[in-house]
């Protein structure tokens, strides 16, 4: 509440500064003397920034400091004698008082909290007022300082634009921050995981059963964290079954659309195919689990595989492959169109048919681009989550039978992190280790793929 008032006051002062300075600067250009360097708006922004930015920075700091000061003031009050000495109970009471004061709690659990509340609220209000006054003074001082510098020859535009450039730079640094955040959080939690489970066991072990028991003497109390079955399942579904669907269909689609289809047909078919990539993965997952999986199990039983599971790798892989088709197709499309027309014309002039030209000239020439596209598609497929969560199983089997149930890295991440358990168990931390592996593998695939594609583009430019 008081934060909203503070922000309103500061922004209000900034707005006043803007309009006042703009009016004053407008008077410069009407008056005698040289033409002013900057537009009135720039002068206005200059004053507004001086008024608002230091005050906002102060508020950011103050909102972190003030609750601590209020707590200290409350502890100094006589009512604080009733507090128990340092410990969990004391912290609980202090939290409760803060909750009561901010209105997130309706009633106190501990009666001591109620006796402390008036002291805390008084201190809270006092520091709120102090913060408000200090912020207002800072805003006024900043604004006045800037105001005194306004002159016709003052280069307000240069100053304001320097701030704008700083904003732009900060905005683009957020990408680096995000990357750093991902790497740091994955590494940090993985380190904690590897302090209890050895990396060798994790990367090369073949038994995955992450259940850790509540009691130490329970059966299977020590979970096994050998992730090889997960890696195999991920490769089996994402890189083998899905690609067996996506590569032929995607490549043939691209060839047909670029070489055979009339422009009108192409204009219609391309967006329709791209719709396949726009369907949310949860819809694919639902479709795979509800419609395709029973069909595949019946088919498996019909051809004599009694163990055909209703959570087969085949169902998840097929649907994932269909999802990837537009991706492979558009990468192949790009690399086929990038092959110089002269090569195609040369082949046709020698009397080759269109299909001979495609098979013997275009596809070999476009192959590096296609391979790069396939690598990118694989990296997308192994990171895909919802289809495998919904359609693939949870059993960590090391099998090459497409009708059996396998599990993947992403499925296990979801499984490990969506229960109600404490955050420090190896079970939850294992999810971050799996995430780290996934991150590194997709990153490597992308780097290799982009390098392949780039080299190939250079060859024809």
């Amino acid at each position: 509440m008081s934060l909203a008032v503070l922000l309103a006051v500061i922004l209000g002062l900034g707005a006043i500064g803007y309009f006042a300075a703009r009016a004053r600067a407008a008077a410069f250009s009407r008056g005698p003397g040289p033409r002013p360097h900057s537009l009135p708006g720039h002068h206005g922004w200059y004053v507004a920034l001086w008024a608002a930015v230091p005050a906002l920075l102060f508020v950011a700091v103050w909102s972190q400091v003030a609750p601590g000061l209020a707590t200290d003031a409350m502890l100094a009050s006589p009512a604080a004698q009733a507090l128990p000495p340092a410990g969990m109970e004391r912290d609980a009471i202090l939290n409760e008082v803060a909750g009561l004061a901010s209105g997130t709690l309706d009633a106190a659990f501990n009666p001591v909290s109620n006796t402390l509340l008036p002291a805390y609220q008084a201190a809270h209000t006092r520091y709120g007022v102090i913060g408000l006054v200090l912020a207002a003074i800072l805003a006024l001082a900043g604004g006045l300082f800037a105001w005194t510098r306004l002159r016709p020859d003052f280069r307000a535009r240069t100053r304001v634009e320097r701030v704008v450039m700083a904003f732009l730079l900060v905005a683009s640094l957020i990408a680096i921050l995000t990357t750093a955040g991902i790497v740091a959080s994955l590494l940090f939690e993985s380190m904690r995981f590897f302090s209890s489970v050895s990396p060798i066991e994790f990367l090369f072990g073949t038994v995955w059963s992450p259940q850790t028991a509540i009691r130490a003497d329970q059966v299977g109390s020590s979970g096994a964290f050998g992730a090889v079955p997960l890696f195999w399942g991920t490769i089996f579904i994402g890189a083998i079954i899905a690609m067996a669907v996506a590569i032929p269909l995607g490549l043939m689609t691209a060839i047909y659309l670029t070489q055979y289809a009339r422009p009108a047909v192409r204009r219609w078919l391309k967006p329709i195919l791209e719709m396949l990539a726009g369907v949310p993965t949860v819809v694919y997952g639902y479709f795979a689990a509800l419609t395709l999986a029973p069909l595949i199990r019946e088919f498996g039983q019909a051809i004599g595989i009694a163990s055909a599971s209703s959570e087969s790798a085949l169902a998840a892989g097929l649907v994932m492959g269909v999802m990837i088709i537009p991706f492979v197709s558009s990468m192949a499309d790009d690399s086929i169109t990038a092959v110089p027309q002269a090569m195609r014309d040369g082949s046709l002039a020698m009397g080759a048919t269109t299909s001979e030209t495609i098979k013997k000239v275009l596809v070999p020439a476009a192959l590096p681009g296609v391979v790069g596209g396939v690598l990118l598609a694989v990296s997308r497929a192994i990171g895909e989550t919802m289809i495998v969560v919904m359609a693939a199983g949870l059993a960590a089997n090391l099998t090459a039978n497409p009708f059996a149930s396998v599990t993947t890295v992403t499925t296990q991440i979801v499984q490990l992190l969506t229960g109600d358990q404490e955050f420090d168990s190896p079970k939850t931390l294992a999810a971050f280790a799996l995430g780290l592996v996934l991150f590194v593998v997709t990153l490597l695939l992308n780097i290799v793929a982009l390098r392949v594609v780039k080299k190939y583009r250079e060859a024809y430019e």
């Binding site: 450039m165 904003f167 001979e356």
Partner: protein, 425 residues
């Protein structure tokens, strides 16, 4: 093939006799291969399109029924029922009065009386809520006998929609004979929130959660994305730092979405202590995921603005910032918006990162703010798909139809923008 060897010195080579049987056969074979290859290509396209059509037809076929609900006509004679309600208290404190009155029991008894033994099981578990709402609206109802249309149980509902199961089918036929049943459009599906009972669920709660989440996402990802794109494309000096930013953005665009969920869990929830399941955390996570898409689309749009525009503006005295904000940005905006809409559509359909930050909780009331527990449409679909009750199948498909309709509309707007404002310089 051997003709090439015979060019120099040797007597003129015999021209190929294209009319000869061998050559004709060969040409026919080659043309047949050509036709086969073309058919293969067409087959691949048609197969992909057929799969899309199959997917959509299945969803619409299942989901259309999800928008309807079977209702039963239930007469309740309040003065003669087991309902214990004090009219005075009902006027002064309706919540308390309704809570203490055993409406559920009274409705069950009335159902047994109306439809015979086991009648209560023909009603939805949430049927009494309809009666409660009606009494709240019009307290005078409790003084007389009234007929209510209440939702039927899943079994009756499915029987009404043609599912073959003998027992409910017979019960349904009996009800139909007495004209005590109707199946119609169910407005509650669009206005209610999640429930454990498929006959009274709605998607408004999840939809509102999606709206709030998207609001946070676009509020962060759009300005940050556009400003980064402007900086990288217009001002950034070529040095190691700029390269680092570019590499980061390109990599972020390719990172699996679930990794962003892990980031959100580790940073926003565990380190910063933000509330679980809240739209603001979901929005932040999705904003980090969407931002690279907007940056890449924005850079392409900015790149396509011809340099002559910049030169002209600089020539008449504009500063670099004025050049960009007065001229380049407005010209690049349609392209940036197209990219933004496509990125938002992807964020709207995203499920996995939101599961990581706890948005899979059962939420039975629409969120009223950015920090309230909420769920979003795709997660709601995922949760319903896990339900055992058969009534949820059609509800899941119906929710999918709503989601797909929104995504289709967003992509349609993006294509329209691209066609309308795309400029060839």
């Amino acid at each position: 093939m051997n003709s090439t060897a015979a060019v120099a010195g040797s007597p003129a080579r015999k021209p190929t006799d294209w009319k000869a049987d061998v050559m004709q056969k060969r040409i026919r074979r080659r043309y047949a291969a050509e036709r086969r290859f073309k058919a293969l290509g067409l087959g691949a396209v048609l197969l992909s399109v057929a799969f899309l059509a199959f997917l959509l037809v299945t969803m619409v076929g299942n989901g259309a029924r999800g928008f309807t609900q079977t209702e039963l006509k239930l007469p309740i004679d309040f003065p003669h029922s087991t309902l214990m309600i004090d009219p005075a208290q009902l006027a002064s404190d309706p919540d308390q009065a309704l809570a203490s009155a055993d409406i559920e029991g009274a409705v069950a008894a009335a159902a047994d009386a109306a439809f015979g033994e086991g009648g209560a099981r023909m009603l939805s578990d949430g049927a009494w809520l309809t009666v409660q709402d009606a009494i709240r609206k019009d307290p005078n109802l409790i003084n007389g006998k009234t007929e209510f249309w209440v939702p039927a149980s899943t079994a009756i509902d499915l029987a009404a929609k043609g599912q073959p199961a003998p027992e409910p089918k017979a019960a349904y036929e009996k009800l139909k004979a007495t004209n005590a049943v109707k199946t119609g459009f169910n407005p509650g599906f669009l206005t209610k929130a999640d429930s454990t009972d498929p006959t009274v669920v709605g998607i408004w709660g999840a939809f509102k959660g999606s709206l709030l989440t998207m609001l946070v996402t676009i509020g962060l990802a759009f300005p940050i994305g556009v400003l980064s794109a402007l900086y990288l494309e217009e001002y950034a000096p070529r040095n190691r730092w700029t390269d680092l930013i570019e590499v980061s953005i390109n990599n972020l665009a390719a990172v699996p979405s679930i990794i962003f969920g892990l980031l959100g869990l580790a940073v926003f929830l565990n380190t910063m202590g933000m509330p679980r399941s809240a739209p603001i955390v979901g929005g932040l996570t999705l904003a980090l995921m969407t931002m690279p898409v907007i940056v890449i689309a924005g850079r392409n749009a900015i790149k396509s603005v011809p340099p002559s525009i910049r030169d002209a503006a600089l020539g008449i005295g504009a500063s670099p910032v004025q050049v960009v904000f007065h001229h380049v940005l407005p010209l690049a905006l349609p392209g940036i918006l197209t990219g933004t809409i496509i990125g938002m559509a992807r964020a709207l359909g995203e499920t996995a990162p939101l599961l990581m930050i706890g948005m899979r909780a059962f939420i039975s009331a629409p969120p009223s703010g950015l920090t309230d527990p909420a769920t979003v449409l795709p997660v709601q679909i995922f949760l319903w798909s896990d339900e055992v009750s058969r009534g949820f199948v059609e509800k899941t498909s119906a929710a999918i139809i709503v989601l797909l309709a929104f995504l289709l509309a967003m992509n349609g707007v993006a294509i329209y923008l691209r066609n309308k404002f795309e400029r060839r310089w």
